[in-house]
């Protein structure tokens, strides 16, 4: 089964070492770049090691015996620190230090596996590029700076920041693998979001629904790419994770990818946040192409007053609806609405404030670092990432178009209270960027036509819509 794989990172065991059940023994990489972790099934003593095989980058034959462990029923583990009594010679120390430079590691490991050598250098550059985009170009800096830094730090050779015991690995395992961080972010987003515009004009939920079309067409696109392009091999789960980029919602994308396709998490998160930052560039041409000047000038009637009571009951209604119809979306929508309830209830201001500030900020930093740690050369520098980037663009474009077209369809059926189709594009979420784009294009046509608040309706409906879409995909595949 493990034909011709290579040990990547020997556990550095010696004969006589104690091993507990569950202890790490070796990490093996097969040809498909899948990592296979070998752990001990017993507790005991290492009684034999095959020194020829048990070292880095050595190909293994099927059936090879790596090591033997003698089972013991009582495991003794002492905190006594073994002292290095043997003399360190100057030459040894200097050569060890030389070998512990990043430069040396990159060059020497590169000969065995380019993803461990030049690949790391390239990924550090990718990280720096993300930081540059965040700072100099203003691309979602709150996420792209931590993600970029996570990529840089995780790819430093011999720093082990993203290895067992490294801080970013802890962060990833405890916050992202478990889905905790995206949910807390969603709680913070809920606490920062005013659903009033949606409540004032509930018809705009339909725009938020239509814009999810981008998600499902992209799913088809991903499968087509798999068929057509060699080097791209997306399963249906992968395709679903990629497709959710079209939801234009970072935490939802990360949550879904961490459940369905952890290996693609890095590329997907980077694509999602990059395209969210590019909304002002991607959407306008599509919006103009699909609307006439008259349509873009439609003035919508002022939004009605929404009472506090409605705003308080609304999150409860959404949660109940989710519980009845789509429980798999309940974590995402539940935490979003919990945050919103804290906000609107007005009686837990201190909780709401902390959720909107300290809590979401702390989690954002670590979410970014953790996501960045998935940007490794073997997972990122391949055709699939290219595919994801192309598909992401499609996802956004289709979602935008679907939202605009939906608004036009709705106008056919209602003669009064026409909807300005420019607010349809805001249904992709990307709060509040997409709503601002709608507003700006509207002002370009008519400087007195402020669409911002009208566009916030589909915008926040889009957040719910993509969480619903994520719930559906989870329900199908989990």
């Amino acid at each position: 089964m493990l034909l011709k794989v290579s040990i990547k990172n020997g556990a550095e065991l010696k004969v006589g070492d104690n091993v507990r059940e569950g202890d790490f023994l070796a990490l093996i990489v097969d040809k498909g770049h899948n990592k296979i972790t070998i752990t001990s099934g017993v507790s005991g003593n290492v009684s034999y090691i095959n020194k020829d095989l048990y070292k880095k980058f050595t190909p293994l034959d099927a059936g090879a015996s790596l090591l033997k462990i003698k089972k013991q029923d009582i495991v003794v583990h002492s905190t006594e620190v073994k002292k290095i009594e043997d003399k360190l010679s100057f030459k040894t120390v200097f050569s060890n230090l030389l070998k512990s430079t990043g430069l040396y590691a990159m060059i020497s490991d590169n000969s065995a596996n380019w993803t461990e050598g030049i690949g790391k250098l390239l990924m550090i550059s990718v990280g720096l590029l993300l930081i540059y985009l965040g700072i100099a170009r203003g691309f979602e800096p709150l996420l792209l700076i931590p993600i970029g830094m996570g990529a840089v730090l995780s790819n430093i050779p011999l720093a082990f920041i993203n290895d067992e015991g490294g801080i970013i690995r802890y962060v990833y395992d405890s916050g992202i693998k478990t889905g905790i961080f995206p949910l807390i972010i969603f709680m913070g987003v809920g606490a920062m979001t005013d659903f009033g515009p949606l409540l004032a004009n509930p018809r705009t939920t339909l725009l938020g629904a239509a814009a999810q079309f981008g998600i499902f067409t992209t799913l088809i696109g991903a499968i087509i790419l798999t068929k057509l392009v060699p080097g791209i091999d997306f399963s249906l789960k992968d395709a679903s994770s990629i497709a959710i980029i079209g939801g234009a919602d970072g935490p939802t994308s990360i949550f879904l990818a961490s459940k369905l396709s952890p290996r693609l998490l890095g590329s997907i998160a980077v694509a999602a946040y990059s395209y969210m930052a590019l909304v002002p560039i991607i959407q306008p041409p599509i919006m103009k192409l699909l609307t006439t000047e008259d349509e873009r000038k439609i003035k919508m009637k002022q939004l009605r007053y929404v009472s506090h009571r409605e705003k308080i009951i609304f999150p409860i209604v959404v949660i109940v609806l989710t519980a009845l119809l789509l429980p798999s979306a309940a974590p995402l929508i539940g935490f979003l609405m919990f945050g919103n309830l804290m906000r609107e209830s007005l009686v837990v201001k201190r909780l709401s404030d902390t959720t909107q500030n300290a809590l979401i900020n702390i989690v954002t930093i670590f979410l970014g670092l953790g996501v960045g740690s998935k940007l490794s050369a073997d997972k990122f520098l391949n055709m699939e990432t290219l595919g994801i980037i192309v598909l992401g663009l499609f996802a956004f474009s289709f979602g935008t178009a679907a939202g605009v077209i939906m608004a036009k369809i709705m106008n056919i059926f209602s003669s009064k209270n026409k909807i300005n189709p420019l607010i349809g594009s805001a249904g992709v979420s990307a709060v509040p960027m997409a709503a601002r784009v709608s507003n700006k294009i509207g002002l370009d046509e008519d400087p007195h036509n402020f669409l911002l608040m009208h566009a916030m309706g589909p915008n926040v409906a889009g957040v719910i819509g993509s969480a619903v879409a994520a719930g559906i995909l989870l329900a199908v595949f989990m």
């Binding site: 939920t205 629904a209 499968i223 249906l236 679903s240 007053y305 009472s307 209604v317 609806l321 819509g465």
Partner: protein, 83 residues
């Protein structure tokens, strides 16, 4: 697999629409049942707003013979006399 993907699209978009249409309906019901309350709250808010604005006006434009104005005037006079 493309068949599966297409099917997923239909089912998925269907459920998204069902969910959000139901949400639409729920919001409308919510509006309907809180209509009375909303009206009261709105008018109360409007009144409070008005009251606050008046108060502010009074504060920033103490034109109506208050003692602050008096002080300003007398200060001015005093300054005049000094000259």
């Amino acid at each position: 697999m493309i068949g599966n993907a297409i099917m997923l699209m239909f089912i998925g978009m269907g459920i998204v629409f069902v969910f959000l249409v139901l949400l639409n309906a729920a919001i409308s019901l919510l509006e309907y049942f809180t209509r009375e309350h909303t009206r009261n709250e709105e008018s109360a808010m409007a009144e409070a707003d008005l009251a606050r604005k008046n108060k502010k006006k009074r504060k920033s434009m103490p034109a109506s013979g208050s003692h602050v104005q008096t002080a300003v005037i007398s200060a001015a006079i005093h300054a005049y006399r000094k000259v």
